[in-house]
């Protein structure tokens, strides 16, 4: 082992902080290969659609890596943003499915069926923007981000942080669920918004459409990973880490801590919202069961299993947990929850840094050693024990 100080200085001079290190490119290629090539070839339409659904949660886990892993803001209410994004998309799809000829039997044709059941006779004002697709696509991101902005400005400007913030996000998740369930005339209540059919005239229920949506989803996910990587590598990313580890020092150095926290939280919300919208498109409905506390915590678990400091780990963690969930529940309909619980405990006990920890400690050193032996003169500095981009914990 070389002297850490020496390695550090070498890594600064030799590497000059590239966008991604070779191992990271390898991780990205591996992930993209599995998502975009291997899984579509290996799985039938039904299983592939399931994977597509899992990957929508990966957007949330990715946001959590930035927000929780790097900026140190634990949010137990990411379901709120996932849900808002999903609802925005669902409102557009529902309006398209509720054309006058489709809803002839209602007392007021042309409005969503659940509104008719609840004696609402005209479309509420906040539904009207969702008649337009471009506006919907904008609102899918804008509504959750605006909401995240309001929450985070209100909290971080007052220096509410840590556990208190986590509890508040949880309360918001609970409040929003109650609001959606209670206002069923406007939101579809506990049933959610169901029976979605077409996107701008394109039937999203066919296997062919699901296949295309899967790739759109996969592409967006890779895009988000690259964006997150960019943030992580930029000066901003380093400030986030500094803030997480020593908030006061960053503040005394003249940085506006609140501003950076707001940014990280809003970015995580935007990722979650994209996931939510893709979820609605692929699954064909949205319901308040994704907004509440339980799904929000579940999404934190995905990030924890994957490793909360690793962008790629978050995606693998999401896939692993959901695969386990589906296969346990198919094989043991009565006992599967125990199996899932055991998996969490095992992962957390054996690998505190999640899947990414296994990769870093066991696979990455071997790869770098091989790379070193291939290129003898100038060793590439990816020293063992220093995770890429992030300081060791």
């Amino acid at each position: 082992m070389t002297n850490p100080v020496q390695t550090l200085s070498k890594s600064l001079t030799v590497n000059d902080n590239p966008f991604m290190k070779p191992v990271e490119w390898l991780s990205l290629l591996l992930l993209a290969g599995v998502i975009l090539v291997v899984l579509p070839l290996a799985l039938d339409a039904f299983r592939l659609n399931l994977v597509g659904k899992y990957l929508t949660y990966a957007f949330v886990a990715l946001g959590l890596v930035i927000c929780w892993g790097y900026a140190g803001i634990l949010s137990l209410g990411q379901g709120v943003f996932f849900g808002l994004g999903g609802y925005c998309m669902a409102m557009y799809l529902k309006l398209e499915a509720s054309s006058v000829e489709n809803t002839k039997i209602q007392s007021t044709p042309g409005i969503p069926d659940f509104m008719d059941w609840n004696q609402i006779t005209a479309l509420p004002w906040f539904w009207t923007p969702f008649k337009s697709l471009p506006l919907t696509l904008l609102l899918v991101i804008a509504v959750p981000v605006a909401f995240a902005f309001i929450i985070s400005v209100a909290m971080f400007k007052r220096r509410v942080g840590g556990t208190y913030f986590a509890i508040i996000t949880q309360a918001i998740a609970a409040i929003l669920t109650i609001l959606i369930v209670g206002q069923q005339g406007f939101t579809g209540g506990i049933n959610g918004i169901t029976d979605l059919r077409t996107l701008n005239g394109w039937d999203i229920r066919t296997d062919h459409a699901k296949f295309i949506l899967y790739f759109v989803n996969g592409g967006l996910l890779i895009g988000c990973i690259l964006l997150a990587q960019y943030v992580k590598k930029s000066k901003l990313g380093r400030i986030l880490v500094a803030m997480r580890d020593k908030e006061d020092r960053v503040r005394f150095s003249g940085y506006s801590v609140a501003g950076f926290k707001v940014f990280a939280f809003c970015l995580a919300a935007a990722f979650a919202a994209i996931g939510g919208a893709m979820f609605t498109l692929q699954v064909g409905f949205m319901s308040p069961s994704f907004v509440g506390i339980v799904p929000s915590i579940e999404m934190v678990i995905y990030a924890a299993v994957g490793g909360r400091l690793s962008l790629f780990g978050a995606v693998w963690g999401t896939l692993l947990v959901n695969f386990a969930k589906t296969s346990f529940s198919e094989s043991f309909p009565d006992l599967w929850l125990f199996g899932l619980g055991a998996l969490f405990i095992a992962v957390v006990l054996a690998f505190p840094n999640g899947l990414a920890g296994i990769w870093r400690e066991h696979i990455e050193p071997r790869l770098t050693r091989r790379a070193k032996s291939l290129r003898p003169p100038e060793p590439i500095a990816v020293p063992r024990g220093v995770p890429h981009g992030a300081p060791a914990e």
């Binding site: 039904f46 659904k53 059941w117 369930v181 209670g182 209540g189 506990i190 979605l196 319901s287 069961s289």
Partner: protein, 421 residues
């Protein structure tokens, strides 16, 4: 030319051809099989749409929540469906084929229902599925059944406002449950004022809407209060105070799940005596009393189509068979009985159609009569709901009900009632 000859030669010697010949040689052996085996028509004739049907087996799915908050309610349905399928298999199966069950867990989570429904239809090619319980789970799974042309037997009493080609509703829709019981309470108890209390979701809201229209427009009496509480709510003191202030002749409730336990206990603690105060509920069966406790709810009237204590020859066979399979302590509620009907109604429709094809089974369903139903007798209406009787029964301290009223005729299902929307 020469090439052609060679091709024929390889054709003669091909392994496939050899296999076919050997298969042909086996044909005479078929004649030696017992005659009984021929009762089953060939699979190619009864299954033209690629369902999971073999010469000896047909696959049927069960899709309920075995875990999560709804498990307590849905377990009864799972048990009833398994009992029915076992009885059908013991009697020779359907079109000479034994039913094989694939059970999936909806986990009290609506999207999971959609996922598992799709798995049962697309992967397992189930000929039919017995499943769903809450309206939310049905609404989530319904588009899947419609898209893949599956067939769902749905057991729960529900709000109506729905009629799908791909669903047979074996429970009551709202008007079947509500109208007769309101007529009864108006006539029998001279009720003039009603206070409605429900959980806040689509079923109680729709049911109360229908009840209110009937109370105001048909019975010409009045509703003095209508209150809703979120699912899982456990604090009913404020509404109990209102009950004391307004003193309604009838408390009409559709509170569901765990909230029931808190509601009836608090009602009792507040000194509202159900032997004097008339309370009519459309959401309490023997299953719920298990949790509420008989002593807390004794005296309340429940309106259902089935009670475990019904006295008829069918029910006298059904109750012991159920207890033999699932234990002496199990109770049988309205939905459990409705779930028991599903596999039999499917079997009858398949046999009438002479096919497992969903379209043919659906076409054969309207007009089917099931005379062995524990509730007495049911018939499938062209709108895919069942004609059935409405019954009112009074809760006893031992957790059972005593039937006090039964509609003389079968009530016609009407999921889109005119004048009640």
């Amino acid at each position: 030319m020469a090439k052609d000859t060679r091709d024929t030669e390889t054709g003669l010697g091909s392994p496939l051809r050899r296999k076919l010949l050997m298969g042909l040689a086996g044909v005479p052996a078929l004649a030696m099989m017992p005659r009984g085996a021929f009762a089953a028509p060939p699979t190619s004739a009864v299954n033209t749409t690629g369902l999971a049907v073999t010469d000896t087996e047909v696959t049927v799915g069960i899709l309920h929540s075995a875990t999560g908050t709804m498990a307590i309610s849905e377990t009864g349905s799972i048990q009833a469906e398994k009992l029915a399928i076992e009885q059908i298999n013991a009697a020779g199966g359907v079109l000479g084929r034994k039913i094989k069950i694939i059970q999936e867990d909806g986990a009290s989570d609506w999207p999971t229902f959609a996922e598992k429904a799709k798995k049962l239809l697309v992967n397992d090619k189930c000929a039919s599925v017995m499943g769903c319980w809450t309206s939310a789970s049905r609404k989530a799974a319904l588009p899947v059944f419609e898209q893949y042309n599956g067939l769902l037997y749905y057991p729960t009493f529900y709000e109506g406002l729905e009629q799908s080609k791909n669903v047979i509703y074996t429970g009551q829709e709202a008007t079947q449950q509500i109208l007769e019981s309101l007529n009864w309470v108006a006539k029998e108890k001279g009720a003039k004022s009603f206070f409605m209390i429900g959980s806040d979701y689509i079923w109680p809201r729709t049911s109360n809407k229908i009840a209110r229209k009937h109370i105001e427009n048909v019975l010409k009496t009045k509703v003095v209060g209508e209150e809703y509480f979120p699912l899982g709510h456990t604090q009913f003191n404020s509404v109990i105070n209102k009950l004391k202030l307004t003193k309604p002749d009838v408390i009409f409730t559709d509170v569901v799940g765990g909230s029931n336990v808190a509601f009836y206990k608090q009602l009792k603690a507040a000194g509202i005596d159900l032997s004097k105060q008339t309370l009519l509920t459309i959401s309490v069966t023997e299953d719920e009393i298990d949790g509420i406790g008989g002593e807390n709810i004794a005296g309340a009237y429940s309106c259902m189509k089935y009670f475990q204590s019904l006295k008829n020859p069918n029910n006298e066979k059904f109750v012991p068979a159920f207890k033999k399979m699932w234990g002496e302590k199990t109770v049988i509620g309205d939905v459990t009985q409705a779930a028991y009907l599903g596999p039999f109604l499917w079997k009858m429709a398949v046999e009438k159609a002479g096919s497992f094809d969903v379209d043919k089974v659906v076409a054969a369903s309207p007009g089917l009569e099931f005379k062995e139903a524990p509730e007495g007798y049911v018939k499938i209406h062209p709108n895919h709901h069942l004609w059935s009787k409405t019954r009112v029964a009074r809760a006893k301290t031992d957790g059972q009900f005593e039937v006090v009223y039964e509609s003389p005729e079968l009530i016609e299902p009407n999921p889109f009632p005119k004048g009640y929307q």
